[in-house]
Amino acid sequence: MQIADYHAYPDAHGRFGPYGGTFVAETLIAPLEELTAAYTRLRDDPAFQREFTDDLKHYVGRPSPIYHARRLSQQVGGAQILLKREDLNHTGAHKINNTVGQALVARAMGKRRIIAEAGAGQHGVATATVCARFGMKCVVYMGAVDIERQKINVYRMKLLGAEVVPVRSGSQTLKDALNEALRDWVTNVADTFYIIGTVAGPHPYPMMVRDFNAVAGREARAQMLEEYGRLPDVLTACVGGGSNAIGLFHAFLNDRDVRIVGAEAAGEGLATGRHAASLAAGRPGVLHGNRTYVLCDDDGQITETHSVSAGLDYPGVGPEHAFLKDTGRAEYVGVTDDEALAAFHLLCETEGILAALESSHAVAQAIKLARDYPKDALILCNLSGRGDKDVHTISKREGMEL
């Protein structure tokens, strides 16, 4: 399929080609229409954009640098690996870009109660953070299983004043937390704003969350031109729901010479069935309000996923990624738990950077790609978050009790 302008998507119905849309129960249509109207107005409002940009600069700490990982590149022995340092943002990941933006939208709409879903808890922390700053009530839904494996982030949310509600339905993980947040929203539509943490959900979320994250790609594109005099040869980022990836990719979508590769969680290997690679191994279906690639069985029941990184452990993916896959603009490949862990250690040892397990999938993919390119090629990898939160998981996996 030939696409003239990737920036023209989604259309007015929230569709990215056949993907996206508004597949929700009737009661939620009205609040979604209200949100779309408010966001469409604010997006073109210079005062809103000024405040957002100002918050990103002074509160989040943007712009984040592009760092040339020289020792890592040398060790790998191929192309030069550059890291977009989203891990240096306030709260330690790209997630804050989106929550700052959505909190401003909520405030403009007069909503004082915020709900969010959490998997690894990075989005939950980023939401609790902006709620503390704006004095808004914050309720975070989190799977009971995830609460158990992400205790530190749960405590951070509580310190920030959020109420963390355990979700015990279904697989008790991220997808169920999303279901429960939607149930809360349908019950409290009048005063509640739902801050979704990724580029999934019904329209306008995939568009709005992308817009707030796209600052990373715009910055990176300008930084590349200024510091390297050209665009990178390849972009790579990890893809769970896909918000950090679309954030980096979006500004480059019309730069056809820039190759784009998304790294999904292949868990224990795509062949084992224990993975979370919706694009590489799923099929088009409907989940959480949008049409996209999903992992499900032949009866259409959503299957449980596996990844060493809780943030990639999701059986769907943002509809724009589904569109980029089908149009051939981006490639999506699987990175296993073991590959991600090896990359985590190599980056740590060669560059002194402790990456999140999610981001380590992107680093692993950058390493693989670098081997196929000459030394003067540039690979830009989104280092979407820092790994402090994962230290327990890694030490446990490697047999060390802390």
Partner: protein, 270 residues
């Protein structure tokens, strides 16, 4: 003429409100579903809504979530559900059956294939919870196969969308009595009465009311101003721990019969 339309025209003549029980297919026991459907008809059901279990029922409260989980643990799928409708039809040619569920299982099965098979099995209508009128084109194969597409209307539905729903309505319009999930306790009869009066005055099809109706008293209160009442979570909860087919049928019967009685007593009020 579709069985749903036949059913409502008969009821209109007798000035009765239709009683629509909802059960989750395959719960509490896969082998009980057909027998429970017959028991419900025996206890006064006019139409049966059969829930198709889904792993992520985002509009449902805990009672129906757990029913779906139980059914899925027993691997209940579309083929089983259509098989049960086919078996039900062997002994009941008249009672309309509406399948209610979420889009993904239908989409993965293939919408055209599903539509053809459902029609052949004796299904009359389909209500897809997460497919609003904006995405209607998606479900066109259902209409093409002669199945009625049951639409939801909620307290939050805007005037513009209400007009679209009324235009597109087939079978009956399902009015969701409050903003919330199934089985919640938020029912306010006066609020529902005002909204439903407006809807009934304009819609060319009957109006059913569901969500929050749990017994004879609430059913009777609602039936005073609508064409049908839907009872789901309260019935599903009653059936949940039935140990065998016989117990499930007995519970279905003893749950529904008093509600039928209450509705019939209320008939004079209509």
């Amino acid at each position: 003429m579709n069985r749903i339309d036949v059913c409502f025209s008969k009821l209109a003549a007798s000035k009765s409100a239709a009683l629509i029980p909802f059960i989750t297919a395959g719960d509490p026991l896969p082998e009980a579903t057909v027998a429970v459907m017959h028991a419900l008809v025996g206890a006064g059901a006019d139409l049966i809504e059969l829930g198709m279990p889904f792993s992520d029922p985002m509009a449902d409260g805990p009672v129906i979530q757990h029913a779906d989980e139980r059914a899925l643990r027993r691997h209940v799928g579309i083929a089983d559900i259509l098989g049960w409708v086919r078996t039900f039809r062997e002994r009941d040619a008249g009672t309309p059956v509406v399948l209610m569920g979420y889009l993904n299982p239908i989409a993965i099965h293939g919408i055209e294939r599903f539509a053809g098979e459902a029609r052949e099995a004796g299904v009359d209508g389909v209500l897809v919870v997460d497919c609003p009128i904006e995405e209607d084109a998606f479900l066109q194969p259902l209409r093409d196969a002669g199945l009625e597409r049951i639409l939801l209307v909620a307290p939050t539905t805007s005037e513009a969308r209400l007009a679209r729903a009324i235009d597109a309505a087939e079978g009956y319009l399902y009015y969701v009595s409050f903003a919330g999930i199934t089985g919640a306790l938020k029912l306010s009869v006066p609020d529902v009465a005002a909204r439903v009066a407006n809807l009934r005055a304009r819609a060319g099809v009957p109006v059913a009311v569901g969500f929050g109706i749990k017994d004879g008293a609430s059913a009777k209160a609602i039936a005073g101003f609508c064409d049908a009442v839907v009872i789901g979570s309260a019935l599903v909860e009653r059936l949940a721990d039935a140990a065998d087919v016989h117990a499930a049928c007995e519970r279905a019967q003893t749950f529904l019969a008093p509600i039928r009685k209450a509705l019939d007593e209320g008939r004079s009020l209509r």
